[in-house]
Structures are given as structure tokens and as C-alpha cells.
């Protein structure tokens, strides 16, 4: 099971839970599973996130693979200048 860590304000949708374990194969399936468990999470939440999978940063990458031993961090989207 992948270890999922929720940073920033995501914990407000999950009643304070900031770490969980989830079965998932991709970023898209991860978001779907999270929303299934915590329906308060907005549908377009992925638009506001950057997702680190084992230290590699992804943005807008539905099908990025999440392995069974992956460590995944959900962060706010990263902008630049």
C-alpha cells in the first residue's frame, strides 16, 4: 500500500487526517479513492495540487504510476516567475 501524505490545507477535508495508506496505481486513481473516502474534497482538486511520487514532482499527470511501496505527498501547485 502506498503511503500518502497530505500537506497544507487538505487535512481540512479529511477531518485532520494527514497520513494514510491507499491502494492505487496512478495519480488519477489516487484522487478518485481519496474523494470516495472524503467526499468533501472538490472534484477539481487535482488542478490545485503538485504531487511528489518518491521525491519526483508531478503536476497535471493523471497517469503517473504509483507503486505499492511508493511515498506520495500531495502539495499545493507550484508556480514560478
Amino acid at each position: 500500500m502506498a503511503r500518502i501524505v497530505l500537506a497544507g490545507n487538505l487535512r481540512l477535508y479529511t477531518e485532520g487526517v494527514t497520513e494514510l495508506e491507499l491502494e492505487s496505481g496512478s495519480i488519477r486513481s489516487l484522487i478518485r479513492e481519496l474523494r470516495r473516502r472524503y467526499p468533501d474534497i472538490p472534484e477539481d482538486i487535482e488542478d490545485e495540487l503538485a504531487i511528489s511520487i518518491d521525491g519526483v514532482l508531478h503536476q497535471d499527470d493523471w497517469f503517473a504510476k504509483i507503486g505499492p511501496d511508493s511515498e506520495v505527498h500531495l502539495l499545493p501547485r507550484i508556480a514560478g516567475g
Binding site: 490545507n9 521525491g55 519526483v56 511515498e71
Partner: protein, 771 residues
């Protein structure tokens, strides 16, 4: 098929020298392909295009920092001979709250954006656009503006971030409830959002500390300071198709914003980016463009709009001013046990300051067990902030690196040694969560320790300061095309505006990947019709993501070239490889056929299967962060309070410097912007919320005589996700200077400044009160 293409970046070869020996172009200081046009004045920037029948557009701007707009009467302006069109809030449809769509890099709320480009219910800052006209020349346009009658109800205003947070402060939005607080507040306020990051247990961490230092910091907003004001030329046809030329960091992004604001199909709008005279994040958003398009649509004539310098200061987005509290505890042998930061950033008239990024990376150079940062995004009656080079990070790290320096001094540990004891490394948990991959934090610190600058003796009265810096960098959607011309030369088409030499780097990577001469590759920046989507130039992404796309296009082209050679020789494709810019037969067919170079294949491509085009469209992921360390020596004139920079060295990890001169240029430019931010730059407001220094005379950016040579050291810890090991470098250089200079001043005067800028009046007052 891909196996027969040489792997460019061989990460099994850990010896950089050996690996670099095989590179012909990447890593050299090749001539810049767009250089001659820039040194002769031929290159066309945003205001350099003229069209027949062109009109001049001008914007009427609010003279008030905060006012309800009761009515706008444009009838007299429209009646003036020579005025062809006028627009105001009635000409832009409203957008629902939270109509958020990923565009560019930042999350965009179109409800806010439509109000920013043209005020609706209220004017929210001095300079806010209220109406616009297009006329046959500038003089008539100016006259027309004076004939527009606006009925304002002036409201109390608020500028400072802490004033804006106080209960009872004038509300920029009457219905704003703070996001990120549970339970949600009942009363509206100017606090748009609260964010929190961190891990571990602060109480445990601080309890273990032998020393705890706590400081509060205050900074003023500063502008990106690009020398070229915003400029565009819009041309609408009667059938609803339109062309737009503009100075922008992202023409695909501008296209998306304008299409949405004008409610037209994206494909009906073609945007060409001009050369861009500086952006630094400030040209990632639109101001004039949708207005020019709206005017052009009404007039059915081209409309040119250019901001004056005054308008740039009054109406385009600076970065946040901030109030910050930082508390850090350490053991007496120099190990940080806990770090906490509370950051309050001005967002300006609409939500969206870079406080989340600041909160995430304020402590990024350190491997900490217990860390927490809280950020507040606060509205005030100022232009909406726009990105400025590593948005948020310079502020967060100014505060943290200042306190780190004080801790080191308090514990009598060398500041670089202190940082090394706590440095983030590959495998450490970053302060914002994920584990770091390969990074150069330790390398930059160790390089600094051994550098001649750090080892040299200071002159009497001088002070020395150091600071670390960090930026995540990003990847993003990027497309590139390589078109083979019939004479074997190659046109490279990319979609990212070139702010500082990226055409050179991208052409070099293309030539390297193809194995051909650099002067056979001509790089061009296509308009929005030429390629698939390209995210904007920013986030230090172009050499990284552009390089991935260019390399991908080269690999695609190579495979087609191999196919043509194989077909021409009647040899199986698996027995054809590509080496040194040529197709060569291998295995059993070695020495029987070929080789065939680009020209050999190109001259017959019509007959062998048609045009050969290498393409790659990708959404690049895995951008590698860039760490930096700056060393600065200052002199302080105790009679005038003037701080002068005597020596400056930038040390930063580039992963792989494709063109070292342009990497050095990024390091030097960011450092000098930081010198300006630290020592002189700030917006000065009068009691009515109007900017008093809206020009380059009194908004004092560094000039040539203010600064010494800026020495640079390029550290290279390759990024494994890029074919050449590239990390973005453009933003990190602005992150360390604020603290490095502040630490140097402290070293010279034994006075710790916690307010920026450290301008002569402030320094003098502090010296005098210190006795």
C-alpha cells in the same frame, strides 16, 4: 527502435569529466542565434510592430485606492472625432466565483481576472483600469480619456498587511471568508487563506534546544522592474478571428486567458510573442491584451496599447510586502531542533499571493525533524501581486536565513559550517514533505567554504554575510518540432518565449542529440498556431522541459532518418544506427552501405516517403530543484547610511549548464535584483493610498555603478530526469541575496536589521540610535 539511438545522458557514467568529453555543443559558449538582431536594434519587442489603419488604445485608471464605481459615462468620449471605440465593465462578461482552471502555472480565478483587467463594482487600487478607448492617435486617445465621466464613491483603504488583518479594517471584498480555517469564520475579513505545512512536534523540538532565537521581519512590495513596459497589438477581423502580438512570458497562456475573457474559441485567436524585454514572472498574466482585443473587436481595426512606466508601477503586479515571524531553536553544537515561521503576505486586490510556496520552502535548505510554517494570504488596496522569480521564496528565506545566521553567531559556529551541520541531502525529508532526490545543497555550501572570496580577509569596517537559497522548479506542457529542410539543415520550432538565451540552449541540445553542426540548426519561436500547447516561460522550466521536448523531437527525427536509410539500402531497420549525425549500417551490413548524413537523406526525402518532421509534445515531470549559496561583502558609510556591495559571489547548482554564459547571466542578474530589493527598492504610498514613486528615478533599482563584478560558480549535480542532467536555474538566484546582504550588514555594524530595504535613511537612523 529506440534502442538504436545513442543515449545522450549516460547516468551510469558517474565521472562528469568522462561524460562531458563526449559532448560537442552542450556545455560550450556557442554564439547566440538571435544575438545579431538584438545588438543592431532589429529585434521586435512588444511595441515595435505597426499595422496599417492602426488605432492607439489608452486606459482610464482609478485615481482612488478604493472606491465604489457608481456610474461610467463614455458618451462624450465616443463623440470626440477620431475615437473609434470605448470599453468598460459592460463589455466583459462576468465569470462565476472559483472558475478556476489550470492555466500557465498559477491557479486562476476568472472572476478575479476579469475584474483585474477592468474594474466592475469597485476600483480596488490606484491605477485600476476603469475604462479604455481606441483612437486614431495618442493625443486624441488621451483627450478622450479626459471626457469619460466616472462617479466614484471613495471608500477607506488599507495597504499594509498587518493593518489589513486587523478586525475593523476596510474590506477589499465584503464577502470574503478565510479559507483554510476550521471552523470557518463567521465574519468576512481581508484574509483570503490560511495555509500550514510541517512535520514533527515543535514543542518537543524547542524543549531540546539550548538556544532559541525569535525575530519579526517586515518587507515592502517590490516590482520585477522589467525595462520593457507591457505592450500589445490586437487585430480583430469582422468574422471573429483575431491576431495578437504581445510581449509575454507565455503566448499560449495569454491566448487562453484572452479567449476566455472575450468568450471566443481559443483556436480563433492566434498569438505571436514578440521579443520580451524582461518578465521575471510579471508578464505571466494579461493586463492590456484582453482590453486591446475588445477595442479592436468593436472598431474592426488594429489597436495598439503600451503601458507607460508610471502605469507599470501603478497598475501591474509587484510582489508581496510581508510581515514574518521566525523562531528557530538549536543545540549548542549547532544542530537545529525546531523551526517555526508565520508568514503574512500581501495579495493585493485579489487573492493569490505566493505565501504557500514561501511557507513550503522557507526551511528547504535544512533537514529538520520538527518544522512548521503558517501562511496568510491577505487582500489590500494594491495591484494584485504577480510572480517575481521564485515567488515567495526570497521572503521566506530572508527571514529564516537571517535567524540561522544569528544562531550561528550566538553559538560561535561559522555560518557555513552551521548550515552544513543541518543541510538537506539526497534522502532527507524536505521541510515541505517529500524526500529529496539528488540535490546540490551540500555541494554549494562546501564550494563556498573553499572559495577564495570566503577565505579572503575583509578590509576594516567591512562585513561579510552568507545565505542559502532554494527553488523547486517545474516542468510542464511543452512541444517542439524539428523540420528537415531539403538541404539537410534543420528548423527547430519551439513555443516558449526567450527571455535570456534559451534559443541558444535549445538549438545546442538539438544539435547535440542529432549529432550535427550547430549552425545547421535554426531555432525559431512559433506562434500559437505552430505547435501543440506550451506552458509559459517561467518556473525555471525552459531549458529543462524544452530540452526534454527538443531531445524527444530529435529522437523521433532520428528514427525516421534511420527508416529512410534502411529503405534506401534495403537493409532491416534494426541494422541501421545513428552515429555522429549519420545513418550507418551495422552488423552484417557494415561496410556494405552508407553512411548517409542529413543532406543525403534530405535531398531524396520527397521520393523516399515525404517530409521528415521530428515531433515531441510532452508534459515534463521531475524537474530538479536548484540550491544556491551567496557570499557578499559590504561597506557601510556611517555618515550617510549607504551600504555598498564590495564583493559578491553566487554559487549554484545547475545540474548541467548547457550554455555556461547564460547560466552565469541568470546568477548575476538575480543577485543584482536581490541587491536592489535589500538596499533600496520599495513602493512608497501617501495617505490616500497613491504611489509616490512610480518611476525609475525614485523607485531605485541598481545601476551599473552600484555593484561590483558578480562572480559565479556553477556547481553541477546532474538531474537524472533530463537527457543532459539539466536543472532549472533562473529563479534560485533571487532567493539568497536578501539575507546574505542583511547578514553582511550585521557583520559590519553589529546591528541586525529586520526590515527591508536597508536604505540609507534607515541604516543611518539605526546607527545613530545604537550610539
Amino acid at each position: 527502435m529506440a534502442a538504436a539511438v545513442e543515449k545522450i545522458f549516460d547516468d551510469t557514467v558517474t565521472d562528469r569529466e568522462t561524460r562531458d568529453k563526449t559532448l560537442k555543443w552542450v556545455g560550450t559558449r556557442a554564439p547566440r542565434p538571435d544575438g545579431v538582431d538584438k545588438v543592431t536594434g532589429r529585434a521586435k519587442f512588444g511595441a515595435d510592430t505597426y499595422l496599417p489603419n492602426m488605432l492607439h488604445g489608452k486606459v482610464l485608471r482609478s485615481p482612488h485606492a478604493h472606491a465604489r464605481i457608481r456610474s461610467i459615462d463614455m458618451s462624450k468620449a465616443l463623440a470626440l472625432p477620431g475615437v473609434k471605440a470605448a470599453v468598460n465593465r459592460d463589455d466583459f462578461p462576468d465569470h462565476p466565483e472559483g472558475a478556476v482552471q489550470p492555466a500557465g502555472e498559477m491557479v486562476i480565478d476568472y472572476r478575479d481576472m476579469t475584474r483585474n483587467i477592468m474594474a466592475r463594482e469597485k476600483a480596488l487600487y490606484e491605477g485600476h483600469a476603469v475604462a479604455a478607448v481606441a483612437a486614431v492617435n495618442e493625443r486624441v486617445a488621451r483627450q478622450a480619456l479626459s471626457l469619460i465621466e466616472v462617479d466614484y464613491e471613495i471608500l477607506p483603504h488599507v495597504i499594509d498587511v498587518e493593518e489589513a488583518m486587523k478586525p475593523g479594517a476596510p474590506l477589499v471584498r465584503e464577502d470574503l471568508i478565510t479559507e483554510g480555517v476550521e471552523p470557518a469564520p463567521e465574519e468576512p475579513s481581508n484574509i483570503a487563506k490560511r495555509v500550514e505545512f510541517g512535520h514533527g512536534d515543535l514543542d518537543v523540538g524547542f524543549a531540546r534546544a539550548d538556544v532559541i532565537i525569535e525575530r519579526s521581519f517586515k518587507t515592502q512590495p517590490v516590482h520585477q522592474g522589467y525595462i520593457e513596459p507591457h505592450a500589445c497589438l490586437a487585430s480583430f477581423s469582422e468574422d471573429g478571428q483575431a491576431e495578437l502580438w504581445c510581449s509575454t512570458q507565455g503566448h499560449y497562456v495569454a491566448r487562453g486567458h484572452c479567449a476566455r475573457l472575450l468568450q471566443m474559441d481559443v483556436s480563433k485567436l492566434r498569438v505571436t510573442c514578440s521579443e520580451i524585454g524582461g518578465g521575471f514572472g510579471g508578464k505571466t498574466v494579461v493586463y492590456l491584451e484582453p482590453v486591446a482585443l475588445a477595442l479592436s473587436r468593436k472598431a474592426c481595426q488594429p489597436v495598439k496599447m503600451v503601458m507607460t512606466r508610471e502605469e507599470v508601477f501603478r497598475a501591474s503586479g509587484p510582489t508581496s510586502g510581508a510581515s514574518m515571524d521566525v523562531r528557530i531553536g538549536a543545540t549548542k553544537d549547532g544542530r537545529i531542533t525546531a523551526g517555526e515561521a508565520i508568514l503574512k503576505f500581501q495579495a493585493g486586490a485579489f487573492a493569490g499571493s505566493p505565501v504557500p510556496a514561501a511557507a513550503m520552502c522557507a526551511f528547504a535548505p535544512y533537514d529538520l525533524e520538527n518544522v512548521r510554517t503558517i501562511g496568510f494570504d491577505v487582500l489590500s488596496n494594491r495591484p494584485k501581486v504577480a510572480a517575481y522569480r521564485a515567488p515567495g521564496a526570497p521572503l521566506g528565506e530572508y527571514a529564516v536565513e537571517s535567524v540561522v545566521d544569528e544562531l550561528a553567531k550566538n553559538l560561535a559556529i561559522d555560518p557555513l559550517e552551521f548550515r552544513l551541520k543541518n543541510a538537506a541531502k539526497e534522502g532527507s525529508d524536505s521541510s515541505y514533505g517529500p524526500k529529496f532526490g539528488p540535490i546540490g545543497c551540500v555541494e554549494t555550501l562546501e564550494t563556498a567554504q573553499k572559495h577564495d572570496h570566503y577565505l579572503s580577509t575583509l578590509k576594516p569596517g567591512q562585513g561579510r554575510g552568507v545565505a542559502s537559497g532554494y527553488w523547486f522548479n517545474i516542468g510542464g506542457q511543452t512541444s517542439a518540432t524539428l523540420n528537415l529542410c531539403e538541404d539537410g539543415s534543420v528548423a527547430l520550432v519551439v513555443g516558449t518565449p526567450d527571455v535570456g538565451g534559451s534559443r541558444a540552449s535549445l538549438a545546442m541540445m538539438a544539435a547535440e542529440s542529432l549529432g550535427i553542426e550547430l549552425d545547421k540548426v535554426r531555432p525559431l519561436i512559433g506562434d500559437t498556431s505552430a505547435l501543440g500547447y506550451n506552458m509559459l516561460t517561467g518556473g525555471s522550466r525552459v531549458t529543462f522541459a524544452g530540452g526534454i521536448a527538443v531531445h524527444g523531437a530529435a529522437v523521433d527525427m532520428i528514427n525516421q532518418l534511420r527508416e529512410r536509410a534502411a529503405a534506401t539500402w534495403d537493409v532491416p531497420i534494426d541494422d541501421v544506427e545513428w552515429h555522429g549525425g549519420q545513418a550507418v549500417a551495422v552488423n552484417g551490413y557494415k561496410d556494405q552501405e552508407g553512411p548517409m548524413g542529413m543532406l543525403d537523406i534530405a535531398k531524396d526525402m520527397a521520393k523516399s516517403g515525404g517530409p521528415i518532421v521530428g515531433r515531441c509534445s510532452t508534459n515534463a515531470q521531475g524537474a530538479g530543484p536548484s540550491f544556491g549559496c551567496h557570499i557578499v561583502d559590504v561597506d557601510v558609510d556611517k555618515e550617510t547610511g549607504k551600504v555598498s556591495v564590495a564583493r559578491y559571489t553566487v554559487i549554484q547548482d545547475a545540474g548541467k549548464a548547457v550554455h555556461p554564459s547564460y547560466v552565469e547571466g541568470q546568477y548575476q542578474g538575480g543577485a543584482v535584483q536581490g541587491i536592489g530589493w535589500a538596499l533600496n527598492e520599495e513602493y512608497i504610498y501617501d495617505k490616500n493610498g497613491k504611489v509616490e514613486n512610480a518611476g525609475f528615478l525614485d523607485y531605485r533599482v541598481p545601476v551599473c555603478s552600484d555593484v561590483p563584478m558578480i562572480d559565479t560558480v556553477i556547481v553541477e549535480v546532474p538531474n537524472p530526469t533530463h537527457p543532459y542532467g539539466v536543472r532549472g536555474v533562473g529563479e534560485t538566484p533571487l532567493v539568497p541575496p536578501l539575507a546574505a546582504i542583511s547578514n553582511a550588514v550585521e557583520n559590519a555594524l553589529d546591528i541586525r536589521f529586520t526590515e527591508l530595504p536597508m536604505s540609507p535613511p534607515r541604516v543611518l537612523a539605526a546607527i545613530e540610535s545604537a550610539g
